[in-house]
């Protein structure tokens, strides 16, 4: 796939995910209408309308403000603020980061993204935003402390590739919507426990149930609500995995130095601590799994389904193979 095909695919997938999300919420709303309001007179699909509204608003909010939400959730700080408080040694490193970002923006021929630092000792990095015109790259303090210039360059090039092929748009929308689904299903579950329970006893007992159709809807609805966070998570993982190989490769194309990223990945892999500042909802955005799950280390069907990142060893091997190709 060339860069234009990747961009087109990402645009398409972003739309699909947003539409799927609105559709999913609509289903929840429909379930609410059928089950709570029933086929009684004066039927107004309050739930469906509300769900459509909430769905569209959160999909748009995810599209336009998802990057801000992700940066806030990881408590990332703009590099200028961090530099103002840093000592001489720290300033030098931050200047290096800024230069490396500039270099990669030039190599990719893109506007310079905004740079953030996440105060966390574990080395990790992620990119977020809508695309080249509005993007942010965040690295952890640990990454700055651990990596040398070439390695840092490799990591930034990897993130810049995510920006260029619009991976960031898709991943940011997914991150925002996974958060929204988790939140909504949490509310719905709670609402059902006390709201639904009392209503059923008072109003529905004398009706003797509202037909098999309503029951089916209720079951589907219940399953959907219970599974929502899990499905969202699965989706997030599936969309992120093969992208990492691609970003590694096109990152190496930018730096023309695949070994820089390979050795950076080795160092990141070597740091066993999980990245605490980055939670489950934005794990798929990162260059390496911030949760430090064992799943990512192994090949096989199970880990292929559930791991958010391809095995580190395979990524490093692929990068090293590229280096040997260059110097036969």
């Amino acid at each position: 796939m060339n860069i234009y095909e990747q961009q087109a695919a990402n645009r398409r997938r972003t739309w699909l995910i947003m539409i799927g999300f609105v559709g999913f919420l609509f289903l929840l709303g429909l379930g609410f209408d059928v089950f709570y309001i029933g086929e009684a007179g004066g039927y107004v699909p309050v739930g469906s309308i509300l769900a459509l509204g909430v769905g569209s608003v959160s999909a748009l909010a995810g599209y336009y403000g998802g990057d801000k939400a992700v940066l806030m959730a990881t408590s990332a700080r703009p590099i200028e603020d961090v530099a103002a408080a840093a000592n001489e040694q720290g300033k030098l490193k931050l200047q290096q980061l800024e230069n490396v970002v500039d270099e990669m923006a030039i190599a990719a021929g893109l506007p310079r993204p905004r740079v953030y630092v996440v105060p966390d000792p574990d080395p990790n990095a992620f990119a977020t935003g809508r695309g080249p015109d509005r993007s942010s790259i965040a690295v952890t303090q640990g990454l700055l402390d651990t990596l040398n210039r070439d390695e840092l360059q490799g990591v930034i090039a990897h993130e810049m590739s995510h920006v260029r092929n619009l991976d960031v748009r898709l991943m940011t929308v997914v991150a925002a919507l996974v958060g929204a689904v988790a939140l909504l299903s949490d509310w719905a579950r709670r609402g059902m426990v006390w709201g639904g329970g009392s209503r059923r006893r008072d109003d529905r007992d004398d009706e003797g149930g509202s037909g098999p159709l309503a029951l089916v809807f209720f079951v589907i609805w219940l399953i959907a609500i219970l599974l929502a966070p899990f499905i969202g998570q699965l989706l997030a993982m599936m969309v992120s995995r093969q992208r990492e190989y691609q970003a590694d490769a096109s990152g190496a194309e930018l730096t023309r130095n695949p070994l820089g990223l390979a050795s950076a990945l080795e160092k990141i892999e070597g740091a066993v601590e999980p990245t605490r500042a980055i939670n489950r909802g934005s794990a798929h955005l990162c260059i390496a799994d911030p949760l430090g799950r064992q799943l990512n280390a192994s090949e096989g069907r199970w880990s292929e389904l559930f791991a958010s990142h391809p095995p580190m060893a395979a990524r490093i091997a692929a990068l090293k193979a590229m280096a040997y190709q260059e110097h036969p």
Partner: protein, 187 residues
Amino acid sequence: MAGIILLAIVVLLVVWAIASYNRLVGLRNQVANGWRQIDVQLKRRHDLIPNLVNAVRGSMDFERDTLTAVMDARAKALSATSPADAAKKESELSGALGRLLAVAENYPTLKSNDNVKMLQEELSGTENKVGFARQFYNDIATRFNTAQQVFPTSVFAAALGFKPAELFEITEAADREVPAVDLSRRA
């Protein structure tokens, strides 16, 4: 019937000609923009050099030759005119800077000086930016040249005033290797 087919062919040809002309114009602008990017970075480097030379002058006074070589190379690079000319003079400047920074490594007071370290980082950053801007420019220029040279377009490209873009190349094999200028890499 034959007339309609002929008309369709003519329309198709015109549409194709317009499309390839516009493509060439777009590429030419991208090439010009790529060249400006290199220019910006070269200028940055030219501006940084006097600062670096001043910062190290005190401690390296007896390395006068090395310092003069850098300043001379800079003056020459400032007067470059074409991409090929600039490429040659800039690579000479890179060589002189590389020697200066290599010599500077022998001075522990310089190595630990924060100001000098920052300047070195700035300089190696700029060095890289020049390199990446060159990489980007050459990629675009090659695409532009290829678009002009492929068969049907090549018939009229020259007639419409399109000239192949000059690549920003480093010609001498010795200059090909950009010297490892920053001490921070080893730190």
